[in-house]
């Protein structure tokens, strides 16, 4: 029972109809991904961005917080400040490398938290149905009554700035959509024959939930979660832009855009740079999640 292909329930052909040389589910996914050059390129790009954020302390040419009155607002492309300097004379390249740390963390950590919490609520709601489902899903519906940016600004505005509050805000905003996806997937799996069979053999509920339901719900939920990473990065940078994120000296792409706004008449190109970093990162995450969705054959 435990070696059910992970995709059995979710719009993939049953195992028997696959060619005899099948390498299993993940082998098939990899086969499809291998020829998807756009996704592979974006995956490599994400890897590069993640690595340069992790290794920022070693590869950044300058201290990101060291300001200098005489080197303020240098243009792009002149040594030693290859990407120019900001309004306090801090090296832009170093700040963008360091800023990737908060921006990436704000994209990935809240999505992970929301996947755990939202996914758990969704599975419980989908599996038990009835009034449990009603209470959970109607509560989520109330959150859907807010456009996501508005909800984020509302919660963050009340809680105040700071990294922890930003994290809490993003997690709350992301829980309802993940809960809904998990609920839909679970209620589909719940009515499948193998779940009935497990129940008939007397398997206790936790075993059914973990061994039979969870394994089939995980892949659509994870694919959906991957589409939310870019949304989370955009939301987080927006909050930082409004002054609701990390506090000033810490480099963060959204906050950098906000503080550099005063200097657009002096160095327009330098001022636009942090936005380019956000844009590239978010495009890469979006394209990878599109590619994953296609390769894993999950409908959004």
């Amino acid at each position: 029972m435990s070696d059910i292909p992970a995709n059995l329930a979710i719009d993939a052909p049953p195992a028997q109809t696959r060619p005899a040389k099948s390498r299993g589910y993940w082998g098939g996914v990899w086969q499809r991904l291998r020829y998807d050059h756009v996704t592979l390129f974006c995956l490599a790009l994400i890897l590069l961005i993640v690595l340069s954020a992790i290794f920022a302390p070693w590869i950044a040419p300058f201290d990101p917080n060291k300001s200098s009155i005489i080197h303020r607002l240098k243009p792009i492309g002149v040594a030693p400040y290859w990407l120019g300097t900001d309004e306090q004379g801090r090296d832009m390249l170093s700040r963008i490398l360091w800023g990737g740390r908060t921006s990436l963390a704000m994209g990935i950590v809240p999505v992970a938290i929301a996947t755990l919490i939202g996914g758990a609520f969704g599975i419980v709601a989908g599996y038990y149905g009835g009034w449990v489902n009603m209470v959970i899903m109607r509560t989520m519906d109330v959150f859907f009554a807010f456009p996501s940016v508005l909800l984020a600004v509302a919660i963050s505005g009340s809680l105040g700035g700071g990294t922890t509050n930003q994290l809490i805000t993003l997690a709350i905003v992301l829980i309802p959509p993940l809960c809904r996806v998990a609920e839909t997937a679970t209620s589909q799996v719940r009515s499948m024959d193998f779940v009935d069979a497990a129940r008939a053999t007397g398997a206790p509920t936790p075993v059914i939930l973990f061994k039979h339901v969870l394994i089939n719900v995980v892949s659509p939920v994870l694919v959906y979660a991957s589409t939310l990473v870019s949304a989370a990065i955009l939301l987080a940078s927006g909050l930082s832009f409004l002054g609701l994120g990390v506090s000033p000296p810490t480099p963060d792409w959204g906050l950098m855009l906000s503080t550099l706004r005063q200097s657009i008449y002096v160095q327009p190109l330098v001022c636009a740079l942090p936005g380019v970093a956000i844009l590239i990162t978010s495009i890469a995450f979006n394209l990878v999640s599109d590619g994953l969705r296609q390769a894993m054959d999950v409908k959004a």
């Binding site: 456009p147 600004v153 009340s158 927006g238 001022c271 979006n286």
Partner: protein, 318 residues
């Protein structure tokens, strides 16, 4: 039809109650004791308790909520601390400015996406199709506030064609969207708002129209000798419910989410109000603005659903 409308209306009520509960909680999760902030230094516990009773803060939370809800229902959203004016009048003044630019942006993206989406659906893999796909990815990936800054850099700093911020000499009352001297202030905010819905709407139109074009009845009407233009009209009409649903959603997102773009352009709408409330930690103003925007979003969804059932009679049966 009426039965469906009534049922849909009734379904909205619990959502509305939920929205007010969340807005009420917003004030409660804010750190800091509001009473302590009001009292002068050296005030005794008894003073604090008296003040707390005066504001009704000694009551249990559900009762506080009901009292607050009563105020809201009579249009009393409290006073904005930063401007010392009633929150409701601040919000209503700003609301029109937000709706106006959001509405124009959505109309613009609707017309453009209809043209581009239909062409892309006809020529899958062609040049227009590729532009549509690229714009769709760009639209959902771009930080709108950065786009706004880039527009300011291009059109205001470099080309000096358009003003960078504000509303010019006019205020909310006398601003005339049909006069160029006024409208040029709104143009950049509108353009910055348009791109995201444009990308999403293009993709929706493309896939909806392509799906209809694959159906049997299209072949039938072609076989009957209809011109390709008439065929297109048929396809678009059948794709319309899906497109209208997306249109309404996007308008809602723009109205609720324009805080970043409005901040960049200092456009005096609800988003700018929110930004002001955040900067000054003006919680009544924050709460009131969010409440009005969320209620508007719920109402908009209601209208879109009803509109959809008017265009597509199949919906109300499900």
């Amino acid at each position: 039809m009426w039965l469906y409308a009534l049922r849909r209306l009734l379904m909205t009520i619990p959502i509305l109650i939920g929205v007010t509960i969340i807005c009420f909680i917003l004030i409660k999760i804010a750190p800091g004791d509001p009473i302590k902030a009001l009292l002068p230094p050296g005030a005794t516990e008894a003073d604090a308790a008296r003040l707390r009773a005066m504001y009704g803060l000694d009551q249990p939370l559900p009762l506080q909520y009901l009292i607050w809800l009563g105020h809201v229902l009579t249009g009393n959203l409290g006073m904005a601390i930063s401007t010392n004016r009633p929150v409701l009048s601040e919000v209503t003044r700003a609301f029109g400015n937000t709706i106006a630019i959001a509405f124009i942006a959505v109309c613009l993206s609707f017309v453009l996406s209809l043209v581009m989406g239909v062409i892309a659906a006809y020529r899958m893999g062609g040049l227009v199709d590729r532009i549509v796909t690229a714009l769709a990815v760009f639209g959902i990936s771009v930080p709108t506030f950065w786009l706004a800054v880039v527009f300011v850099i291009i059109f205001a700093v470099n080309l000096r064609m358009l003003p960078a911020t504000g509303m010019g000499d006019s205020d909310s009352g006398s601003f005339n969207y049909f006069r160029w001297d006024d409208f040029k202030f709104a143009l950049l905010p509108i353009l910055a708002l348009t791109l995201t819905p444009l990308g999403i709407m293009m993709r929706t139109t493309r896939s909806a129209v392509a799906e209809i074009l694959n159906q049997d009845f299209i072949q039938t009407i072609r076989a009957k000798g209809m011109s390709e233009f008439q065929v297109t009209v048929h396809a678009v009409r059948n794709a319309m419910p899906q497109i209208v649903a997306m249109l309404g959603l996007q308008l809602g997102y723009l109205v609720g989410g324009s805080v970043l773009v409005e901040t960049v352009f200092s456009w005096p709408g609800t988003g700018y109000l929110l930004n002001m409330a955040i900067m000054a930690r003006d919680l009544p103003l924050l709460q009131g603005t969010i409440l009005v925007l969320a209620l508007a979003f719920v109402m908009l969804n209601l209208v879109v659903d009803l509109l959809q059932s008017l265009i597509d009679p199949r919906i109300k049966r499900s």
